[in-house]
C-alpha cells in the first residue's frame, strides 16, 4: 500500500492532490502488468476502471470491418487512459492493447465513483483533472481530423 501511495502521489496526473485524497484513491488501486500484445479492454465491455501507466505503451484502437484495427492514439509512461468509468453507461468505446510489456496502476471505477459521491471535494478534484484530459483529447482529435500534414493549408 505504501508503495502504491508513493507511485500515485508522484504521478503527474495527481500532482498537488492532498494526502487525504491520495489515501482514498489508494483504497481503490491495484498494480497490473500486461504482456506485449495483450488486450487491456475491448469495446462494449463494462468500463469499471482506469489506468496510470508506469512503463510501456498502450494503443487505443477500434476495429473497422475489412480494414482491421485503426489506432486512434497511444498512451505512454506518465499518462493515464480510460474515462468511460465516469460516464454512463460505463462501457468502453474502444479497444486498448499493450504493445510492449506495460506496468500500470489501475483504479476501480465503481469504488471511486462511490468515494466521489461521499466526498464531493474528492469528486470535484477528480472531475477537474479528467476535464483537462478530455479537453486535451478533444483538441488532439480535432487536429488529427484536420489532417494538417497531408495536403497543406493552401488548398
Amino acid at each position: 500500500m505504501e508503495n502504491l501511495e508513493r507511485i500515485l502521489s508522484e504521478h503527474p496526473f495527481l500532482e498537488g492532490m492532498s494526502q487525504k485524497h491520495i489515501e482514498l484513491l489508494v483504497g481503490c488501486a491495484s498494480n497490473v502488468v500486461f504482456k506485449a500484445g495483450e488486450f487491456i479492454f475491448r469495446e462494449g465491455e463494462p468500463a469499471d476502471n482506469f489506468y496510470f501507466i508506469r512503463h510501456g505503451r498502450v494503443l487505443v484502437e477500434t476495429h473497422v470491418p475489412q480494414k482491421g484495427p485503426i489506432v486512434i492514439r497511444s498512451r505512454a509512461e506518465g499518462e493515464i487512459f480510460g474515462w468511460s468509468w465516469m460516464v454512463p453507461p460505463y462501457k468502453w468505446h474502444f479497444d486498448a492493447r499493450a504493445t510492449e510489456l506495460t506496468r500500470a496502476i489501475t483504479l476501480d471505477g465503481k469504488c471511486l465513483r462511490t468515494k466521489c459521491e461521499e466526498d464531493h471535494d474528492l469528486g470535484y478534484e477528480i472531475m477537474k483533472r479528467f476535464a483537462l484530459v478530455i479537453a486535451e483529447r478533444l483538441e488532439a482529435t480535432r487536429l488529427q481530423l484536420m489532417d494538417i500534414y497531408g495536403n497543406g493549408l493552401k488548398k
Binding site: I70, V71, R73, S74, E79, E139, I148, Y149, G152, L153
Partner: protein
C-alpha cells in the same frame, strides 16, 4: 530578424534573378509523394555555402520556379540537397526529372535557424510533415558541434508511418545516446507500435529544460500555432521560440511583394522568425 548569423550568404550568381543550371546527381524517393534531390554545382564553383534554414529558388525549365528549403548538411556544402513534396504544377514536374538533367538554382536566400546562438542551451526541434526537411541542416550542424549544447530533442509528427521522411537516417540518429528522437503519427494501423497522436502531445513529456532551451518549430501553420501554445504551457518563453513561415514567392529577394506579411517580407526577413517578432502577424487571419 531571427539571429546574428542571419547575414545572407553570397548568392550563386551576380544577377540574383538568374538561375544557374545544376545537374541532378541522385534522386532519393523518401515517401509516396516526397523525394530528395542531390544537385551538383556548375563547373568552376567550389562550395555552396548556406546556413541551416535557408532556401533556394528552384526552376524547372519551362514550367516555373518555387522556393524549396535546403535539406542537406551545411558542413558538407559541396552537394546541395533539397527535399520536396510533389503537390502542384512545378513540384510534380520536378518529381519527373531524371538523374543527369538540370534544374535552375538561385540562392541561398532568407534567414537561418539560431543554431550558433543556441550554444549552452537545450535545443528542441519540433516538426510536422515536410517541415523536417528545413530542420535537417540544423540537426547536422548541432551534431557536428555536439559538445556545445545541452540536450538535443527532435519531436517529429507525420501523417502515417508511410509518410515518415529520412527513415534510415532517423534510425541511425536514434541509436545515438546524445540525441533524443520521438516520433508520432496521426493515423496508423495495428501494425504500428509507436506513438499515435499529434506532435503537440509529445511536448508535455519531452525531457528538455523549458527554462534553458531554444525551440525551433517548422510545419504547417496550424501545427505551429498549437505547438507554441504547448511550449508556453511548459514554460518556454516566446523569445526562445523560432518558427519558419511559408508564403507564395516570386522573386525571393524582397522586390516583388508576393511574400509580404504586414511590413515583413518572408523571403528576406524570414522564413525563420523569432516568435516575438512575428507573433502579431502570425495570428492575424487577414495576413
Amino acid at each position: 530578424m531571427a539571429s546574428k548569423s542571419e547575414k545572407l550568404i553570397e548568392v550563386v550568381s551576380d544577377d540574383p534573378m538568374l538561375a544557374r543550371p545544376f545537374t541532378i546527381r541522385r534522386v532519393i524517393k523518401e515517401s509516396h509523394d516526397t523525394f530528395s534531390m542531390e544537385l551538383e554545382k556548375p563547373s568552376g564553383r567550389k562550395d555552396f555555402n548556406f546556413l541551416p534554414g535557408q532556401f533556394n529558388m528552384l526552376y524547372v525549365y519551362g514550367i516555373g520556379e518555387v522556393p524549396i528549403s535546403i535539406s542537406g548538411d551545411p558542413t558538407m556544402p559541396r552537394t546541395l540537397v533539397h527535399t520536396t513534396r510533389a503537390v502542384g504544377t512545378v513540384t510534380k514536374a520536378m518529381w519527373n526529372l531524371k538523374v543527369g538533367e538540370s534544374i535552375g538554382v538561385r540562392g541561398p536566400y532568407g534567414t537561418a535557424w539560431p543554431a550558433a546562438e543556441s550554444e549552452g542551451s537545450d535545443v528542441v526541434l519540433i516538426t510536422g510533415g515536410i517541415g523536417l526537411a528545413p530542420l535537417r541542416p540544423v540537426i547536422y550542424y548541432l551534431l557536428a558541434n555536439r559538445g556545445k549544447y545541452g540536450k538535443i530533442v527532435l519531436l517529429y509528427g507525420a501523417r502515417t508511418p508511410e509518410d515518415i521522411l529520412y527513415v534510415k537516417q532517423l534510425e541511425k540518429w536514434r541509436a545515438r545516446f546524445d540525441l533524443e528522437i520521438h516520433l508520432t503519427v496521426d493515423r496508423a494501423t495495428g501494425a504500428w507500435h509507436g506513438n499515435v497522436g499529434v506532435v503537440t502531445q509529445l511536448i508535455k513529456r519531452s525531457p528538455f529544460d523549458p527554462l534553458n532551451c531554444v525551440a525551433m518549430v517548422c510545419g504547417p501553420e496550424v501545427m505551429m500555432r498549437f505547438t507554441v501554445m504547448e511550449l508556453e504551457k511548459r514554460g518556454v518563453t516566446e523569445d526562445r521560440i523560432y518558427i519558419s513561415m511559408e508564403r507564395n514567392m516570386k522573386c525571393g529577394i524582397g522586390l516583388c511583394g508576393h511574400c509580404q506579411l504586414g511590413s515583413s517580407f518572408v523571403c528576406k526577413d524570414g522564413p525563420v522568425y523569432r516568435f516575438t517578432d512575428i507573433k502579431d502577424k502570425f495570428t492575424k487571419r487577414e495576413m
